[in-house]
Symmetry: C2
Subunit: 298 residues, 2 copies
């Protein structure tokens, strides 16, 4: 391992640790009544996730020359929101998944009703946590709330899951699949970056650059997820492999082929990298995160 | 019908109409993609509800001497949030109800997965709409968001549903049932009032009086709901009557008896009324709302 990659691995570990610590502080304690829901929330949030979205949020704040700590509420909010979307997506009436991050999914442990409530509670908590963000001269509190609500609402994150549900068993074209991937993945990655930047009062120009970066990176990320689903084992993924193909769900490799999928992911990552020029050396961690996402095999 | 009660009936109708108009403006149009989710959201919100929570929100703003229009985003937010909680509560994995406000429930029309997503989208939208509230000298934007998130989160609204789910088939005592009713009903009614008052910059003393009013009224309201469930027909209620008893769910009449339930509801309403003294004549509509809730039989 090179010294640069050792440093980056250390950065990821350190940041994930700081995010976990903040999440422990923000989430209701297990002993608070009713305990079952607080256990379910913590079971789902502390399931060994990579904390990719919060780290993007913090790295964006750094790229804008700001204090990472100011981005921490937003970082935790996007992770809690992401977790809610996984808990609900895994439900039997949705994607019906038993395994997530190598462990039984929330509804397998706590039951379907409790998993619905756990997701609801995490979604609600995400807004509470986000409201802890200090307003800046350029961005008032309501701007943060609207950014997250719009991205995670019926037009984007939830809209993507709707298209996903409605697309099962149907033959989707590439444009339709890109639309789903943008809504389900790229939108929240982009918002993670934007919220981090807004928390440190980023200029509109820097916010625009992060938006381009996030949209390209997000699509690349999801294409790679599709590739891994068809090429890796359940053991390596920590979730059911080949799931998408099994339920006849459209994937990028199925539509454009594996090789072309890999090339498109690489081209998108290049596009993402180019958008970082405006930040100069301060975008070092964002560059490394993009590299990391393209090269990952788990 | 007396002239006062005719005036009040007109007030309710006028206000419900204004709230509906604002809801139409705030909610995404049905033609926005993906259309299914936006149809499901509007199907659930425009189902002939009484708009009790938004009207309480607006009446609280009036009682504090403020402009009702300033409370409109908060009024719509609490109604949208209330609707999400009904959509999820009606799911087969929760209370499993087929009928709501005289119409098939969301999951009966759109399917279970879509109903989960519809509830998620309404919950998310509630925070977007609430963020439209203008901050006041006393209350910043983040205070409104935290008020709603806390009330609707795992400690209160969702927590109440958790206790409800866990209590089914078990013998609850009166204290436990009161805890559920406070969490599931009184908390959101109280927050509806508080948000309306905060939107017009109410003094802390007035906010405290509304809190007392809301908590007493909310418990009275839920006791009456329990009474109606055992005394009225499905046709009159517009939802399945006797449902609670059928699934062996604890109700107020079952624990303390019908007559005592009625007396407690009346005593709580009296307590609520007393809390309104500080507002003088400006609390006229809040008084009438409390009267209306105690006397209702549908």
């Amino acid at each position: 391992m090179s010294s640069a990659s050792a440093d980056f691995t250390k950065y990821l570990t350190t940041m994930a640790g700081r995010v976990d610590k903040a999440l422990h502080r923000f989430l209701p304690a297990e002993k608070i009544a009713p305990q079952t829901i607080h256990k379910a929330m913590r079971y789902s949030v502390f399931a060994g996730g990579k904390r990719l979205r919060p780290i993007l949020c913090i790295a964006a704040a750094e790229a804008c020359g700001g204090d990472a700590e100011r981005a921490m509420p937003a970082a935790c909010a996007v992770e809690v929101l992401h977790t809610y979307s996984l808990v609900h997506d895994d439900l039997p009436c949705m994607d019906d998944d038993d395994l997530r991050r190598g462990r039984p999914t929330c509804h397998k442990v706590f039951g379907d009703g409790m998993a619905v409530l756990c997701g609801d509670a995490l979604l609600t908590e995400a807004f509470y946590i986000l409201a802890e963000t200090q307003a800046t001269p350029r961005y008032r509190s309501d701007v943060f709330i609207k950014e997250l609500a719009l991205t995670s609402g019926s037009r984007h994150l939830i809209g993507g899951q709707v298209m996903d549900l409605e697309g099962e068993g149907k033959s989707l074209n590439k444009a339709q699949l890109v639309l789903i991937h943008k809504a389900k993945t790229a939108a929240l990655l982009t918002t993670s970056l934007r919220l981090g930047a807004m928390a440190v009062n980023a200029t509109p120009a820097k916010l625009a650059a992060l938006t381009t970066f996030g949209q390209a990176l997000g699509l690349a990320f999801q294409i790679i997820d599709d590739i891994l689903d068809v090429t890796q084992s359940t053991e390596v993924l920590g979730k059911t492999a080949g799931k998408d193909a099994n339920v006849d769900k459209a994937t990028y490799p199925a539509i454009v082929g594996l090789e072309k999928s890999r090339k498109e992911a690489a081209a998108l990552t290049k596009k993402a990298m180019d958008a970082l020029t405006v930040f100069g050396k301060k975008a070092g961690h964002l560059h490394q995160l993009a590299d990391f996402l393209l090269a990952r095999n788990y």
